[in-house]
């Protein structure tokens, strides 16, 4: 009876995720081994053509850039999110509510609109560029848009709320008396922060790192709108193959590569959290 109930309750969501998440994901890997079709679908039979084309097309610089950008975004986001989560947990209740609301609003604001906001700020005639020129900080003919710096800036902007909220969730459970104890024992505020607080929320930090890194790996909208032609990431190539050349197997092969790249940090996280579970004495 209970078995049947379990089955009936599980079936609708499970079947949905199976049909529209697991099977399509498997299909992408499968499609790598199908020949392409000029009409934008896939041809009959099996072939290794796509893999050969992939090896010839020299994607290595793009892959490197993608990993680099994501790693930089991750480091910047986590180092800003740590002190911010630390502060947010320690302020009074009413302030904390306001702070959280202020962190959540940019997070919920439409993604495209946030990118647009930066595009207008960084535009040669935009407010930020004009302001910096007036302050004498940059040259008159500076181009803040369409370069790697702009891509990094906007990536950090879009990912930072994620990092803050993740670390905040961990910091909420942290015993803050431990910090007072450390201070009583003669630690400076900085030492207490680095040697007591940071290890205390390491799980949150790990989750934030993985989350930001993985989300950045798959970005294509940010480089497309604020980056130049030399700032394209792997995901930009996927859209170009899928919509520009209408070569579905080629796009699928790239997506399969991205999938592998995403699985590595996730596996690392799973292994680390399993190891640290064993560490904790019962």
């Amino acid at each position: 009876m209970s078995r049947r109930r379990e089955f009936l309750l599980t079936l609708p969501p499970l079947a949905w995720m199976m049909a529209f998440f697991a099977i399509p994901a498997g299909l992408v890997i499968l499609m790598t081994f199908r020949p392409s079709d000029l009409r934008g679908g896939m041809g009959e039979g099996w072939s290794l053509e796509t893999l050969k084309a992939l090896a010839e097309a020299d994607y290595l610089p793009v892959v490197w850039r993608t990993v680099w950008m994501s790693a930089l975004t991750m480091v910047i986001c986590v180092s800003l999110a740590l002190p911010m989560a630390f502060h947010t947990v320690r302020v009074a209740e009413t302030w904390r509510r306001w702070l959280l609301l202020l962190i959540v609003v940019p997070f919920l604001t439409n993604f495209i609109i946030r990118i647009f906001a930066w595009k207008t700020l960084l535009h040669p005639e935009g407010t930020l560029t004009q302001f910096l020129i007036r302050c004498g900080l940059v040259a008159e003919d500076v181009m803040l848009l369409n370069n790697a710096g702009a891509v990094l800036l906007v990536l950090v902007y879009t990912q930072l709320p994620f990092a803050i909220l993740t670390i905040f969730a961990a910091a909420e459970k942290f015993e803050f008396h431990l910090l007072d104890a450390a201070r009583d024992l003669g630690a400076s505020p900085w030492q207490a922060f680095v040697r007591v607080f940071v290890p205390g929320v390491r799980r949150g930090i790990l989750s934030a790192c993985v989350m930001v890194f993985v989300c950045s790996l798959g970005q294509y909208v940010v480089p497309q709108f604020v980056g130049g032609p030399t700032d394209e990431m792997l995901a930009n190539k996927i859209t170009q193959r899928a919509f520009g050349d209408r070569n579905l197997p080629h796009a699928s092969a790239l997506a399969a590569c991205l999938m592998l790249a995403v699985l590595v940090p996730l596996l690392i996280k799973a292994i680390v959290s399993r190891l640290s579970e064993k560490e904790v004495p019962p």
Binding site: E6, T10, L14, M17, P24, L27, P83
Partner: protein
């Protein structure tokens, strides 16, 4: 004991970083200048133009329809999933849990690409139905997580009490479980609704020609010359985000 002021300075700097672009959008929506580099006087004209821009309102109505239908579907599926995951332990639930949590960490483009490949392989015509399927698929996981959080705080002895007082399992679920879980389910639905309105990447892959949602419309307007109109539209959207978030916070406080 003296506290370092560095964390509060970082917090302040990050908040300025968060809000400066948004505030500039709002200011520029009333600015007569096209690029907003300089203030050239107050104007309502971008809002007037936005009011007359039919393609924007068409996109808006498509977005709303998709968001309402997908968040309701995701609410039902997500609640079922959360209940099953909370109450049962078996190999089936392990698989279930993996399938529900993986989309949370999967970059959008992979879901978009794989659904596109899936629909093309099946020969399904891209349109409203495919957008709906895609949106439900990425929303279910979020609803499940929110409801699961609520279930962990739920006192299951209340269900036993209802059964002792003579309620059938169905009545107990309908009159005790669902009403008490409702704030969580609604919070999940609200999250799904916002995510559905927000989505650009996945919709871009599965929408096909002629079904432009608001984010897709804004993105295509960004390439054109109607920039000040986007300022006006953005201001309205930021304002509604702020109101919705404040409302959600209120609700949470009342039921917490």
């Amino acid at each position: 004991m003296k506290r370092s002021c560095l964390p509060s300075l970082v917090t302040l700097a990050v908040l300025v970083f968060f809000f400066a672009p948004l505030v500039m959008l709002v200011v520029n929506s009333f600015n007569a200048s096209r690029f907003g580099g300089e203030w050239e006087g107050f104007t309502w004209q971008w809002y007037e133009r936005l009011w007359d821009a039919e393609e924007v309102w068409d996109a808006f109505s498509i977005t709303l329809k998709v968001a309402v239908v997908s968040s309701i579907t995701a609410m039902v599926l997500g609640t079922l999933a959360a209940y099953a995951l909370h109450c049962f332990r078996s190999w089936l639930q392990n698989l279930h849990s993996m399938l529900v949590t993986l989309p949370l960490v999967m970059p959008d483009i992979l879901m978009g690409m794989s659904l596109l490949a899936f629909f093309l392989a099946l020969g399904v015509e891209l349109g409203m139905a495919t957008i709906w399927i895609a949106h439900v698929t990425f929303c279910v996981s979020f609803v499940t997580m929110v409801v699961l959080g609520r279930l962990q705080d739920f006192d299951f002895t209340l269900l036993d009490a209802a059964r002792d007082l003579g309620a059938s399992p169905r009545v107990a679920a309908g009159k005790v479980l669902v009403p008490l879980l409702l704030p969580g389910i609604l919070a999940g639905g609200l999250l799904a609704f916002t995510l559905s309105i927000d989505d650009y990447v996945i919709t871009f892959f599965v929408s096909g020609p002629g079904n432009t949602t608001l984010p897709l419309r804004v993105a295509s307007m960004m390439k054109g010359r109607n920039l000040p109109m986007i300022h006006a539209l953005s201001t309205l959207m930021i304002a509604s985000t702020f109101l919705l978030a404040a409302l959600a916070f209120r609700l949470q406080r009342r039921y917490a």
